[in-house]
Symmetry: C2
């Protein structure tokens, strides 16, 4: 198979972890006789510094003409505490999601048994945890109108949802639940928010077309508790953009390291794959960042193009690295392996 891949390294440790994913994709090309074409483009703080905008037009064009996008990380602390900043690295990622219509962010959460000591949760809590979060990604308070009054004393953000925005991601989540354990949990705040009540209305209607799936509801505050008290109860979680942002990062603690978690952002015509960890600026260029999340993002990319055997080879190589202790220091303080060596080991085992 021939695939055109856009590479967006971004900021912080993005470039170094992305390189490891590319190594693994190259190993897949060789072993399975595919041809992947890699084209790189700037985004985020890196793009602001160089081109004055966090999402240059040519980056967006490249993404539009690619079969899939592999993304590194975004964000730079120098923009975080500057309320006067005219542009922010994160805007590039948000614009990219919106322009490409990447409406569903999919984050699998699984406890790797070889790493259960790393989790802050007790072993009996995380054993056999295996669920997926479907987060709506192009609506809600992220993209609603933002306002500040003239003298800068009042600011607001609008959280808006339409039936259409809700139903397209809901259908994906129901399909996933149907192929898994048949349980879907809608997380909202319907006792307070009008938009949440629309979510409940639309999702409960859609449920009628999926009789195999059992739908239940959880308020977001309760969900934040249940994720830690009893994560095994979940199969597929469906939620809106902001709640999904919070809950999926929270859920990342289950596995013991955020450095292991990959995500896919899917639209009608495009798909982007990225580690869920951020740009981790303190580690930039130090060869210590965990490349596994980025490599597993590449595995999700392969699956998205129905290259299941290839994805499995990547996953098995990752498992081998974890079992053999070829891991970065976030997983084992005494480890001697750096980002590059872990990437090499995994690529060599594909």
């Amino acid at each position: 198979m021939k695939l055109n891949l856009a590479l967006l390294p971004g900021d912080g440790v993005g470039p170094e972890v992305l390189s490891q994913a590319v190594k693994c994709l190259q190993a897949v090309e060789e072993t399975f006789n595919h041809q992947f074409i890699y084209r790189e483009a700037p985004i985020g703080a890196y793009a602001i510094d160089k081109y004055g905008t966090s999402l240059p037009e040519k980056t967006l064009d490249l993404c539009k003409t690619s079969d899939a996008i592999l993304f590194g990380a975004i964000g730079d602390p120098k923009y975080d505490n500057n309320p006067e900043a005219k542009t922010r690295p994160e805007e590039g990622l948000l614009e990219l999601r919106k322009s490409l219509g990447l409406f569903a962010n999919i984050r699998p959460v699984k406890a790797f048994s070889s790493l259960s000591e790393k989790s802050p949760l007790k072993k009996e809590i995380i054993e056999n945890v295996d669920f997926i979060i479907y987060r709506e990604l192009t609506g809600g308070i992220y993209f609603g109108e933002k306002k500040t009054n003239e003298d800068g004393t009042i600011a607001s953000d609008l959280c808006e949802y339409s039936e259409k925005e809700i139903s397209r991601v809901a259908h994906l989540a129901f399909k996933a639940a149907k192929n898994r354990d048949g349980k879907l949990t809608l997380v909202d705040k319907a006792n307070v928010l009008e938009s949440s009540r629309l979510w409940r209305k639309v999702v409960s209607k859609i449920a009628e077309s999926y009789p195999e799936v059992k739908l239940d509801y959880l308020f977001v505050d309760n969900a934040a508790m249940q994720l830690i008290l009893n994560p095994r109860q979940f199969d597929v979680i469906l939620t809106e953009n902001m709640f999904g942002d919070i809950l999926s990062d929270e859920a990342s603690v289950i596995g013991g390291s955020i450095g292991l978690l990959a995500s896919a952002s899917i639209g009608e015509e495009n798909a982007l794959f990225e580690p869920i960890h951020g740009s981790y600026p303190q580690a930039k260029g130090m060869d210590i960042a965990n490349p596994v999340a980025s490599i597993l993002s590449a595995a999700m990319l392969l699956e998205h193009h129905s290259l299941f055997e290839e994805a499995m080879a990547v996953r098995e190589a990752v498992d081998k690295a974890l079992k053999k202790g070829v891991v970065t220091t976030d997983l084992n303080e005494k480890s001697q392996y750096g980002t590059n060596q872990v990437g090499d080991f995994i690529a060599d085992n594909i």
Copy 2:
């Protein structure tokens, strides 16, 4: 001292846990020679069923003329999945907060060492955890304009904050931090939300008047992770209404039971005290709900009126019950004690 107390039992297990708190307050009256006058009023689903509104006028009037309010719980599942419901029990609580100007919700989070096996988190994670959450309670997306378009296909909620709303709760949080370990963490989503950027601007300005306090910032998604990965890092957390709702319920897992956590909601002229657990309708009338959160809410009430010795007596009686195993089944499956017996034991030990 003479105090006029409004009692709002509300729904589910609210009435039964509130009764235990009243028992303890009566014990305090006797032991310390005070006079508390208790006046009860309806709220929530109970009030809807009886009077057609979740906050009857006479309830609000009673609260306004009281020195403090002791609250049970609110909510009934029969309203949750009914998008057509004209009124909801929760509205009563939200209206009460707004009408009384209870702008700061204060939730202490502490790990009781006698209960560390109950927590889903590992012992070494929760040891010596001791922080307070200051949640803004009368602004943000809870109270912003709510809209649904004519054909019910689009719904929205506005998240709005003013400098004034931010600064009054921020001052309380800074003062608390000054009297504690001198560390304040502002949780927001300033990389996405305009309202969060206003929070950062206002709070960082206020910080200049509290040179003893070290201010730092955390994005809400990261905060949801850090609360579980390393809760000891926190001293005082300050955040807006919705993030506070989610994070404080999440933080409740640290102690092992949400049945232990109390909260205070403070305004210029009024204050309300309530357990953070909900109405727990499945347990209603079964004499199994944990009364400790409600009793500790009464202790916070006493502290609010500077009755520190009295509050300490209540806290010590609670500690004794926990240490002696006089607890409800949420803390010990094999326990024989019900809500009433635990309440009696604690009251007797004051």
